[in-house]
């Protein structure tokens, strides 16, 4: 048994007028059948990490890695055609804004059916049944109505549920969720996350959850990588995030205002240039250990 995903020495570079800019610098991590959180501020490279797994770095960006292996197969050796099969079929991705991922002039149901039939050679009736079941699984009360609706008729929370349904219908092994709930209200956010969490766990998938929100990540993940300036500065168990040691993580936690613990001035994160120079911490876990930490929660 191997890890679902192994990433070794990933670097992503963008050329700029002042020389190459390394958005992600030499990071390694692995993913088992667990929920892995990647947190960091904007510009920390967390989203780019998510995209590089799917090889979605657009030129002039350059992706370099020793290995990006999905169950032992290095994705870098695949052709673009094989890669298309991986995207969606084996690894799915949910973005922050569902409206840009959905075709505005196509019925929601048809879009999900199409996503399904692209990967599974199913008949139209089968696809429809499967789609309705999937819409029900994301707790949409009236799947028939939503099936025949257009994306603009949906609220943000509904849109994100539909995206989850669409991304999970081909039964991928890994789901990458890039800030899936940042645009939603707090109350809706919780519902959507719970739906996603339940489905991912039931299906024994691996989840990479990219977020800037430390609290959300610590609730919905097993393990967390903390990124700063393109590097992993710390990795820890999600439920132990509040005991994190790295001054950056501590600074992030402390800079949040707290309702029950009022302060006159918020603590401001004092950045240290040494953080960006320090070598990346490895986020890889031995196969056995990954499973264990997954069960520990």
């Amino acid at each position: 048994m191997t890890n679902l995903l192994d990433v070794e020495n990933l670097t992503v570079e963008f050329p700029t007028r002042t020389g190459p800019f390394e958005a992600v610098r030499d990071i390694s991590f692995s993913l088992g059948r667990e929920r892995l959180g990647i947190v960091g501020e904007s510009g920390s490279g967390k989203s780019i990490t998510g995209r590089s797994i799917l090889r979605l770095i657009r030129p002039p960006g350059i992706l370099k890695a020793n290995r990006i292996a999905l169950e032992g197969t290095d994705l870098q050796t695949l052709s673009e055609k094989q890669m298309r099969d991986v995207r969606g079929h084996k690894i799915s991705m949910i973005m922050q804004d569902p409206t840009v991922s959905l075709n505005p002039v196509m019925k929601i149901g048809d879009q999900i059916c199409e996503a399904y039939r692209l990967h599974a050679k199913a008949s139209k009736a089968e696809a429809r049944a499967k789609t309705l079941a999937m819409l029900e699984a994301v707790l949409i009360r009236d799947p028939e109505r939503v099936f025949n609706a257009y994306p603009h008729e949906m609220s943000g929370g509904m849109g994100q549920r539909i995206m989850i349904a669409m991304m999970l219908i081909p039964d991928p092994q890994i789901l990458i969720a890039d800030e899936p709930t940042s645009a939603l209200d707090v109350t809706v956010q919780k519902e959507v996350l719970e739906i996603m969490d339940k489905l991912v766990r039931e299906r024994g998938m691996g989840l990479i959850f990219i977020s800037h929100d430390l609290n959300v990540v610590s609730t919905f993940c097993d393990r967390v990588l903390i990124m700063y300036s393109g590097r992993i500065v710390e990795t820890c168990r999600a439920d132990a995030l509040h005991e994190a040691k790295h001054p950056y993580t501590r600074g992030l936690l402390n800079s949040l205002p707290q309702l029950e613990h009022p302060v006159d001035r918020l603590q401001v994160l004092q950045r240290d240039d040494a953080w960006r120079e320090a070598a990346s911490v490895s986020g890889a876990v031995k196969v056995g250990a990954a499973v264990k930490s997954g069960k520990a929660v």
Binding site: F14, R17, G43, E179
Partner: protein, 338 residues
């Protein structure tokens, strides 16, 4: 969260907030390094922290120029147009003959004959010299139209878009009326009413050319007027006139410049068409369209008389189109906004 476009490297790095806040960059001179080497000029223009308004503005221009220079096709068009301006400027110096000088003994000489590089026309005038002088007329028409039509369109479009209400309705219906006329026919009607001549041809072209600019300016204004930065300046108490002229125009101008450059070819062709129909520049004048018209009679036996000015029109039109395409890439207002 977003694509890490290289240009946002500074913005994408939250640490930049602190690092460069207090320390202040290494102090460099506040005036342009006048007598210094070329290298330091470039540094001055590329400085991330300009020291004066002038430097900031020049640096922005320099950056746009650098981008344009990276586009070989646009630069090709740009060089042709620079050459055209130089030719028009130095016409008396470089033209081998007087463009009006007739020599009936040397009529309809083919290209390459002695003294007539591009041949001569039915009255024995040197076609090359006429083309060289004709470039002045072409530039004159182009410059006048480019100055007038977009300005009218900008006024009408931004006023309609920003002020809205009945003014918008009235202005845009007038625009629609002008748009509904076939361009050349309307120009013909104007010229026949006002009399033939270059100025009247220009006027006719302007009258038919402004409505698309008004539409573009209005569409841009409609998206801009609801932007937070326009709300912000409104909350500072700026008048509608000031908002339109100082805050909306600068954003509309780039799309208009692109459109004008792309339309230039059409304008040259319309002017040439009017000349061809005998409603633009009048006979002895070496306007390119009129030259084609004059050469039409000989097109079967003496192809060069009509072909040479045709090639000139083609080259200049192509140059404008290439440059316009390049400018679109450089000036696109949507590019820097995110």
């Amino acid at each position: 969260m977003s694509d890490p476009a290289p240009d946002t490297a500074a913005a994408a790095d939250p640490a930049a907030d602190k690092r460069s806040n207090r320390g202040g960059g290494p102090a460099s001179s506040t005036s342009p390094p006048s007598a210094m080497a070329k290298q330091s000029w470039r540094d001055w223009l590329n400085d991330d922290a300009p020291k004066s308004r002038r430097q900031a503005k020049l640096a922005a221009w320099y950056r746009a120029w650098g981008e344009l220079r990276a586009n070989p096709m646009a630069m090709f068009g740009f060089y042709i147009l620079v050459a055209l301006v130089l030719i028009a400027w130095t016409a008396p110096l470089i033209a081998p003959h007087d463009p009006f000088d007739q020599d009936l003994a040397a009529r309809l000489r083919p290209p390459g004959s002695a003294g007539y590089l591009l041949g001569s026309d039915s009255l024995g005038r040197d076609i090359l010299s006429r083309l060289i002088y004709g470039s002045r007329i072409t530039l004159y028409i182009v410059a006048l139209v480019a100055l007038l039509a977009p300005v009218v369109g900008l006024f009408v479009g931004t006023a309609a878009g920003y002020l809205g209400g009945w003014l918008d309705v009235v202005l845009m219906r007038i625009t629609d009326i002008f748009l509904a006329f076939p361009r050349l026919i309307l120009a013909l009607a104007f010229v026949s009413a006002l009399g033939a001549g270059i100025e009247n041809a220009v006027l006719a072209i302007v009258l038919t050319a402004w409505p698309p600019y008004a539409r573009i300016a209005r569409a841009e204004t409609l998206t801009i007027r609801n932007a937070d930065y326009i709300h912000a300046i409104k909350l500072q108490g700026a008048s509608a006139l000031r908002i339109i002229t100082r805050h909306i125009w600068p954003l509309c101008i780039s799309s208009l410049v692109i459109r004008v450059t792309l339309d230039m070819a059409g304008i040259i062709l319309t002017a040439a068409g009017l000349g061809f129909l005998g409603l633009g520049a009048q006979p002895p004048s070496p306007e390119w369209g009129a030259m084609i018209s004059a050469g039409r009679k000989f097109i079967l036996d003496h192809w060069w008389v009509a072909t040479m000015p045709g090639l000139a029109i083609f080259t200049v039109s192509l140059a404008f189109n290439l440059l316009g395409d390049g400018l679109r890439d450089v000036l696109d207002p949507k590019k820097n906004s995110k």
